[in-house]
């Protein structure tokens, strides 16, 4: 198997999944998990060879002439992410298959989930920037479908739209960033770009490319101030939150930053931007989560905080920071996936996810409680879970941060205290607190719902207990892939007594104290939040959106006013200005006024035509203007005769006659002329008409005096008789040399005739009805 083939088959499974759901019944989730799990095992089997330094690249031609190919690139980092996406994805499929049973359109839902999984897997093994962009956009589209799954609810539609617009606009910026990034390289190939990191750093495109790529990554990974779409997306069903907002969708931005870290990272602007954004997001997310009462919203804000931590670590860029980033990424994916699935389970069993409405659940679901509490322990960073190692490394990295480490360390400490506090609060309030009256007695969740959380927590525990045997092999190549200058640190549960351990102990103690005095602290924080964080970002977002739509409406009404004559006027004025500029720049035309070459009779005809034209335009009578129109036609006929256009003249005479008859027949039914336009409008139109007419005059004069190449008609003249056996060259051109054009032309007039026939046979009453 190959990475590309795997994704292709996954896409196929996603396509047929909605249709097969009906036949697979309640086991659909298990069956749909088979293929992702196969992929998980495949990547697991690659682990030893990748740790030996293997990097897999595959290329499928797409637009090879433009350097755009479906290239796949699997290194340690891609492999780690593939394991997360496919491993958690398999459990999510099982979970979702059961969880969605009471809902309509579950087949479609599973299909969307698989589609999203395809897209995410595509991102993490992309070896070409544009391949990555395509999958990136696919995650935006499929997450829109997933978040808006309860589409009959207006708030679900609003959150889906919000998430889609923010990540979609970020995607647009990202595309621009990718294009700028590729310019100095002349290639979209990621392996090549990673191998030559200095080319972009020496280029003056570095800054614009960086800014655009950061916008893309920050919007996707919900960084402050774009963080608000993530809590909004909690209207989605729990399987979606558990998958998209733990290990995948929101981690795509982190993935991108880490992937491009060797190329873009290490500069001052990178360090400052990422550190400031990360530290802000980390603290704001944690702070807001304190006062939330909706279980999923709490988890969403802690996710925002975790994403901020990751960005901060990538920005810091030291050896400890990079190690911490990869370990924390793994930690967070494992515990957050568990917690979101458990939140879904609790909501399913009790009918609510408001933590003030929950309590005393331990005696109803002890097994589920143990799993969730272990995940919370990991979140709090308490041994022996992997979360402890993650937090230790973060403290190490913060303490050793090159810039402003006291500030970062303080905020990191506060964030972790909040995490400990939240873990305690969720565990104790939900499982032991005062028991509200439940409408039905809660039970243990069934196997399909609990198997995912169980295994994720188990991994978390095992990785935490045996870090150097299990966590190190998983992550070491990922760390060197995103930061080639740094090595993986050998992970240990016990570091000895040092500053970091002291901080850990202090964090836990502070968390306990906060929890003990929460009745004093919470109202205080609540007041601050109400006072300073009241203006919700969502509302700002939608008012900006409304303002933008209003602006486009006004703009469209101004430009698309619906008056044909102003459209035409715009075209005429612009065209004549352009042509006048051309004429201005061209050589002057020499006009030879030689009256001897002007036959008097023809001069009379021209004057007659001009007079008839003025009469047609100015006349108040329809009949007079039609007769004058006839005069013009016959005048032109005479000009054709005078200058050797025999066939033209015959045709023109007959067409002109018929045209006047036709116009007479129609005008008979129309009302008399009435003056519609003001004098000012007439003057203005005359001016436009003069501009257009005058440039055509100059054009004719230039055409008449300019020397041309030998016209193609010389060829026609030569072969007209020898090859086409005709002496009337005009006719031979029509029926032989350019017969296909003539065929098109007679088709056009046939269609016009049929159109007329149809218009007249359809009665007005019928038109009105339809």
């Amino acid at each position: 198997m190959t990475a590309g083939l795997f994704i292709f088959i996954l896409l196929l499974v996603a396509t047929v999944a909605p249709f097969l759901r009906r036949y697979l019944g309640n086991y659909a989730g298990w069956i749909y998990a088979i293929w992702p799990f196969t992929g998980f095992l495949y990547y697991l089997s690659l682990l030893p060879s990748i740790n030996d330094g293997l990097i897999i690249t595959e290329t499928y031609a797409w637009l090879p002439a433009l350097g755009i190919n479906f290239t796949f690139y699997v290194d340690g980092f891609g492999m780690l992410f593939s394991l997360l996406v496919l491993g958690i994805g398999s459990f999510i499929m099982v979970y979702a298959g059961y969880y969605m049973r009471p809902y309509p359109m579950k087949g479609r839902f599973l299909g969307y989930l698989l589609l999203f999984m395809t897209a995410m897997q595509g991102i993490v093994v992309s070896g070409n920037l544009l391949t990555m962009f395509v999958f990136w956009e696919l995650t935006s589209v499929s997450s829109y479908l997933l978040i808006g799954y309860y589409h009959e609810k207006p708030e679900a539609r609003a959150s889906a739209l919000q998430a889609f617009l923010i990540t979609g606009l970020g995607g647009l910026a990202l595309l621009g960033g990718f294009v700028l990034l590729s310019i100095p390289y002349g290639s979209y190939d990621i392996a090549y770009i990673l191998s030559e990191p200095n080319i972009i750093k020496d280029s003056n495109l570095y800054l614009p490319a960086l800014i655009l790529i950061l916008i893309g990554a920050f919007t996707k990974s919900a960084q402050f101030p774009f963080h608000f779409w993530l809590p909004g997306a909690m209207t989605a069903p729990s399987p979606v939150s558990a998958f998209l907002h733990s290990a995948t969708m929101v981690k795509a931005g982190i993935f991108l930053l880490a992937r491009l870290n060797p190329v873009l990272g290490g500069t001052e602007i990178w360090t400052y931007t990422l550190s400031i954004t990360g530290v802000t997001t980390m603290f704001v997310g944690a702070w807001i989560s304190i006062t939330q009462t909706d279980l999923k919203r709490i988890l969403a804000y802690t996710t925002v905080s975790a994403l901020g931590t990751l960005v901060l670590l990538l920005g810091t860029g030291t050896e400890y920071a990079v190690n911490a980033a990869i370990i924390f990424l793994l930690v967070h994916a494992l515990y957050k996936g568990t917690l979101f699935m458990m939140a879904g389970n609790i909501e399913k069993k009790t009918g609510t996810r408001d933590i003030t409405q929950l309590g005393g659940l331990f005696k109803y679901m002890p097994f589920a409680a143990v799993i969730m509490i272990m995940a919370l322990v990991s979140m709090a960073g308490v041994p022996p879970m992997l979360g402890f190692l993650g937090k230790e490394l973060i403290y190490e990295a913060s303490a050793a941060a090159p810039k402003a480490h006291y500030f970062i360390l303080t905020l990191g400490f506060l964030t972790n205290v909040i995490m400990v506090f939240l873990s305690l609060r969720l565990a104790i309030d939900i499982f032991w607190g005062k028991e509200p009256p439940y409408s039905k007695i809660p039970k243990e969740p069934s196997v399909s719902l609990i198997i995912g959380p169980f295994f994720l927590v188990l991994f978390s525990l095992l990785l935490g207990l045996f870090p150097s045997y299990m966590a190190n092999p998983l992550t070491s190549k990922a760390i060197t892939a995103i930061s080639p200058d740094n090595d993986a640190i050998v992970l240990k549960l016990w570091h000895g007594f040092n500053l970091v351990l002291g901080l850990s102990v202090l964090t836990i103690i502070s968390g306990f104290i906060t929890f003990r005095f929460r009745h004093l602290i919470l109202p205080f924080i609540d007041r601050i939040n109400i006072k300073y964080f009241r203006r919700e970002f969502t509302r700002v977002f939608f008012s900006v959106l409304d303002a933008f739509l209003g602006f486009t409406k006004v703009k469209t009404k101004t430009l698309q006013h619906g008056y044909h004559r102003f459209y035409l006027m715009t075209i005429f004025v612009f065209a004549s200005i352009l042509v006048w500029i051309m004429i201005w720049r061209a050589d002057p035309v020499v006009i030879e006024l030689d009256f001897s070459t002007m036959p008097l009779n023809l001069v009379a005809v021209v004057i007659l035509i001009i007079a008839a034209t003025i009469t047609t335009v100015a006349s108040d009578s329809r009949v007079v203007s039609l007769i004058s129109l006839g005069v013009i036609g016959f005048g032109i006929t005479i000009i054709f005769i005078a200058y050797s256009g025999v066939d033209l003249a015959i045709t023109m005479i007959m067409v002109e006659t018929l045209m006047v008859i036709l116009a007479m027949a129609v005008v008979f039914h129309l009302p008399k002329y009435k003056p519609f336009s003001s004098t000012g409008a007439r003057m203005r139109d005359t001016l436009v008409a003069t501009m257009v007419g005058s440039f055509f005059m100059v054009l004719v004069l230039q055409a008449g005096t300019s020397a041309m190449e030998i016209p193609i008609s010389e060829f026609f003249k030569e072969v007209s008789y020898t090859q086409a056996y005709g002496r009337n060259i005009v006719n031979v051109i029509l029926v032989d040399f350019r017969a296909l054009d003539t065929l098109g032309e007679i088709s056009v007039i046939s269609i016009a005739a049929l159109g007329i026939y149809a218009i007249l046979k359809l009665k007005p009453s019928k038109i009105k009805e339809s």
């Binding site: 025999v646 066939d647 015959i650 045709t651 007959m654 067409v655 006659t657 018929l658 008859i661 036709l662 027949a665 129609v666 039914h669 090859q723 086409a724 056996y725 005709g726 002496r727 009337n728 005009v730 006719n731 031979v732 029509l734 029926v735 032989d736 017969a739 296909l740 003539t742 065929l743 007679i746 088709s747 007039i749 046939s750 016009a752 005739a753 049929l754 007329i756 026939y757 007249l760 046979k761």
Partner: protein, 137 residues
């Protein structure tokens, strides 16, 4: 609007115009004329008649429908391109046969003539279709 003069003129002019249109069509390859002019003449013959006697009567006096005439013309024009394909050449390449030939006179028939016939019928049919529809209103 009855006009005796117009009626007499139209009934006498019609056969004359029809014959003339065929002549113009045929000689169009070498002299002024051709399918367009011939078609316009043929159409005018019937339009003149229709203006004098009314559309209904005209339609009764002819054995074809203008719509069909237009379609027939298009079909003939299209068919004239097919022999070239049969001969293995590009669509619409002119194909000729010499029927009669001596030093003074040569009679040749070819697909371009057939094409011109198609144009002739299409133009005439289109004119009649349009004029009959409008005059009927």
């Amino acid at each position: 609007m009855e006009s005796v003069l117009l009626k007499i003129a139209a009934s006498h002019m019609r056969p004359l115009l029809i014959v003339l249109s065929v002549v113009v069509l045929y000689r169009g390859h070498n002299e002024p004329g051709g399918g367009f002019i011939g078609g316009l003449m043929l159409g005018s013959a019937f339009i003149l008649y229709a203006m004098a006697y009314g559309v209904k009567k005209t339609q009764k006096s002819i054995f074809f429908d203008p719509v069909n005439l237009t379609g027939l013309g298009l079909l003939i024009a299209l068919a004239s391109g097919l022999p070239a394909i049969l001969m293995g050449e590009i669509f619409m390449t002119g194909q000729w046969i010499t029927l009669f030939s001596n030093t003074f006179f040569e009679l040749k028939l070819g697909t371009p003539l057939l094409f011109d016939v198609g144009v002739y019928f299409t133009v005439a049919g289109m004119l009649m279709l349009v004029m009959f529809s409008i005059l009927e209103e």
